[in-house]
Amino acid sequence: MSTTEAAAAPADSEPRDERIAFRGPMQRLLISPEIGAIVGATLVWALFWATGQQFGEASATLSWLDAAAPFGIMSVAVALLMIGGEFDLSSGVIVGSTGIFVGIFAQRFMGNGGPLWMAIVLAFLAAACIGWINGWLVNRTGLPSFIVTLATFFVLRGVNLVFSKRLMNKVIVENINGETIKDIAGFQWWLSDKWNYKAASFGWRNQVFFGLVLAGAVLLVAGLLEQSLKRRTDRPPAWAPVGTVVGLAATVLGIVLAHTTDGVGANLLAGLVGLLGAVVATVSWAAWRYETHGPTGTFSLTGRALLLTIVGAACVLLAWLVTRPLKLDDRRQLLSIPPHAIKVLIGAVAAVVAGGLALRYALGKLLRARSGGQTVGALAVPRVAVITAIAAGLGLTTVIVFLQMATVQGFRAIVLIGLGVLGIVLLLVAKGAARKTSTRAQLLPGLIAVVAIVGYAVVLRADSHAVRFRAGLFTVLLLIAAAVLANTIIELHQVKRVAFETRPDRVGRGLASLGVFLAGGGLALRLLFSGQNIYRWIVWWLVITAVAAFVLSRTKWGNWIFAVGGNKEAARAVGVPADQVKVGLFVMVSLLGCLVGVMTALRFGSVTAAAGVGKEFEYIIGAVVGGCLMTGGYGSVIGASVGAMIAPITLNGIPLSKWNSDNRFIFLGVVLLAAVLVNQKIRKKAQEAR
């Protein structure tokens, strides 16, 4: 929420090396490579959660997690390789090749099939060889890995077809199951089986979940405060400890009440108790532990902060007003509703707005260039006209296409969520901008944002007949409002830290990580005891992501990967075994591809000759959305793991929301592009701000 810690630094501090400049926890999160994936996945998830009735349920959640697992494992592998500066276009097809190999070997070796363990061992050996060949060829020839692995891709694709046809006489290898392969059971337990615990077998499931999430949230808040505020040395005020305890108790009471009562009034009351409790607890805790000072500056807003506040508030209001006349369960095609003139009007407005914005942007750029003393050629004016025309055309087309595809229901959800969230985000940005002038100026946008979020929560709840809106979303939004309110009050009178301090930073990070871990554990427990199938590879995916993240950030191999991806020759010059690192990465990708291939084959009992073909690009997209640069030397495996969720969330969400699945690639394309752009934009902004 606050991105401007560094801006509040005293002006008289001596200029520092920007690499060791202090950054608050939020700013660190914003410049991390995974931010685009996290924002993108969260928004897409929220969209389908709001539109698909069953999307938030454990069954649907495990369904998309199940689809994401193999994809996530491969995206992590491909992300490591991309950070190391290379691509592997054979990463998709190897999943099919190894599965086909295992299926054929176990059924046809020496006439009636070899042992499965031998098939699996040989598949891993073969995969390692393929990875080694890829890496060796890239190192040896200096050709782009794009070309080398494209060749491998074609070869493997051909091999898949030839062998499955020649040996199984068809384009699919079937019967990889207990009937034809006797020693399969043990492998299935590890690789393709599932857990399924009855929801009733763990009666305290919900209570434990809420307890863990609440504890996690408390720790997370404490950790964030610890990292961004300065410890006080004098005696804290007497009310601070009391306020902390009372506030915390009120929060718990509020949440419990909201979940045990069902009347609208009782829920609202409970929500307010919880909200105020959380705020009181946080503010009191901050006053108890951290240094305070008097507020500075004036309350009035100026310039950009004022504009953003007005636009933000307008967006929230508009989101509410526009969706009033539209019905929640109206599934009619949007195009069939208003008379033709209105559609033309909407299109024209969109064209004018888009064109106008582009004109303003292009003209502004032109004028700046001119005032900067640059010669602006005769082509400048036509160029401005062309940009304006293109923007207007795009605006018109987008609106027409949108009207063509959307139902009233979908339109309503998009406006309510898109415009509402945009407005709230703008208000928060306004708050950050105002914070730069004075601690008092941020009070007004902060309070408006709180009112907007609370109002939004009330509107969404009253609006829906789905149970989860009444409790879940309401609680989440109120918690966000509480966080903003607490942040506003704390920023008003608390002293921010402007330099690194080893101990509080470490303690803060530890607390925040523990908080995330606890909340995640609570969620995992809730899913585990949902009575739905949890396939093993979801665990494989989590473990592989964790191991890869650890290796990348905490070991010398991680440094080596970044080094060879950034500049191979420079890395070699400082003693990094660059060739070995690259070969190792290619082998790792192939081995993980083999793991996924074997797991898929054992799980489904069949592999088609086309299995995995085309998936390599989706793995790369997952990695790129997750923050990896196409040029290497930068990226994150956690981002890749989260980025890999976007496609499965979308592909599951569309049928669950009963949208026409013909649109899915349009939607997916837009989402992926937006995620990458968000990534780039936020990172740039955050880097400028430091």
Binding site: Q54, A60, S63, A67, G605, A610, L651, P655, L656
Partner: protein, 325 residues
């Protein structure tokens, strides 16, 4: 007209003999069988075959017909390369074969050579693909399964079983044939039909979750029509995870699908009976060449839909193993 064509055909047959003699000594390789010299009928079957399991059954059918009728069969597979297929037809016209059976996977690329063949007096039968184009190109008839008719058959089956809401699964977005199957099913089903695209056979995991999501989104779905065998098997798994029991139907055959039919998890699958496509093309050309018969009366001859259900699945399984189904 008929008699003159017949006369032309016999002249052509004679010409084949001459051509065989003359070309055998020329530069081109002796693709035309030497037995052509004894006046034996040579039929060229030019398909877009990729030599996969499907086409191997077509080939078996054609070979059986050729053996039974005592004609020579020239099997030519272009592996989905329409330019190559067009060249093959042109070469056959130049070699003056007695008849050509051709699959019109790409009518635009093949219409020229096929018209040339007809103009040269060589009878043509289209098979597998081309039911809407064969007439225009002057072919005698078309032997194949119309995707829409296959879909019609599935729709009727679901309707007869009393299903009210159908989910149609297409494993390849934008595939004309799959869309026609779904449209055909919708036509005769009468009830409410939802169509979804899935990620396809290359990604079974995602496909299964998509099918599951579609079933979960609407609990009133009581029938599922998968337009391919992999999708049907995934639909069975998705239904099991959700604990629902819709009636599931499919198109084409696979071991797993036949096992699911035997277990009663899948109600039926539509068999193209592609063996017939090979067998009947050769037979129809033979009858035309020797006796001037035309089959179909200007309409295509359908080889499907043949239904495989629990009742005949054991028999079909044995025939699949011997490679004729």
């Amino acid at each position: 007209m008929k008699t003159s064509r017949l006369a032309l055909a016999s002249v052509a047959t004679a010409a084949v003999a001459l051509a065989a003699v003359s070309t055998a000594s020329a530069t081109t390789p002796p693709t035309t069988p030497a037995s052509g010299g004894s006046g034996k009928i040579t039929i060229a079957m030019v398909t877009h075959s990729d030599d996969g399991i499907f086409w191997s059954v077509v080939k078996k059918g054609a070979e059986a017909a050729a053996k039974n009728l005592g004609v020579d069969l020239k099997w030519e597979a272009s592996n989905n390369d329409s330019a190559k297929q067009a060249q093959m037809v042109e070469a056959d016209v130049a070699a003056k074969v007695s008849g050509i059976a051709v699959s019109l996977a790409d009518p635009a690329a093949l219409s020229g050579p096929v018209k040339a063949a007809v103009a040269a007096g060589i009878p043509v039968v289209t098979l597998n693909s081309g039911s809407d184009k064969f007439k225009e190109l002057g072919a005698i008839t078309h032997v194949g399964q119309d995707e829409k008719v296959a879909g019609n058959g599935a729709g009727e089956k679901f309707k007869a079983a009393g299903a009210k809401k159908l989910l149609c699964i297409m494993q390849e977005q934008g595939n004309v044939g799959l869309q026609a199957r779904c449209d055909g099913a919708k036509e005769t089903f009468g009830g409410d039909v939802t169509m979804i695209n899935t990620s396809g056979d290359a990604d079974q995991t995602t496909s299964q979750s998509e099918i599951k999501a579609a079933m979960q989104a609407d609990s009133s779905i009581d029938a599922v029509f998968a337009t391919g065998p992999v999708g049907a098997v995934l639909a069975v798994k998705a239904a099991e995870e959700l604990g629902v029991k819709p009636m599931i139907g499919s198109v084409d055959l696979s071991d797993e699908l036949l096992a699911d039919i035997a277990d009663g998890k899948v109600a039926f699958t539509i068999d193209q009976q592609q063996y017939l496509q090979g067998y009947l093309s050769v037979l129809f050309l033979y009858l035309y060449i020797t006796n001037g018969n035309t089959v179909g009366g200007g309409l295509p001859v359908y080889t499907g839909p043949g239904f495989v259900t629990k009742d005949n699945v054991a028999q079909v399984k044995a025939l699949v193993a011997s490679g004729t189904r």
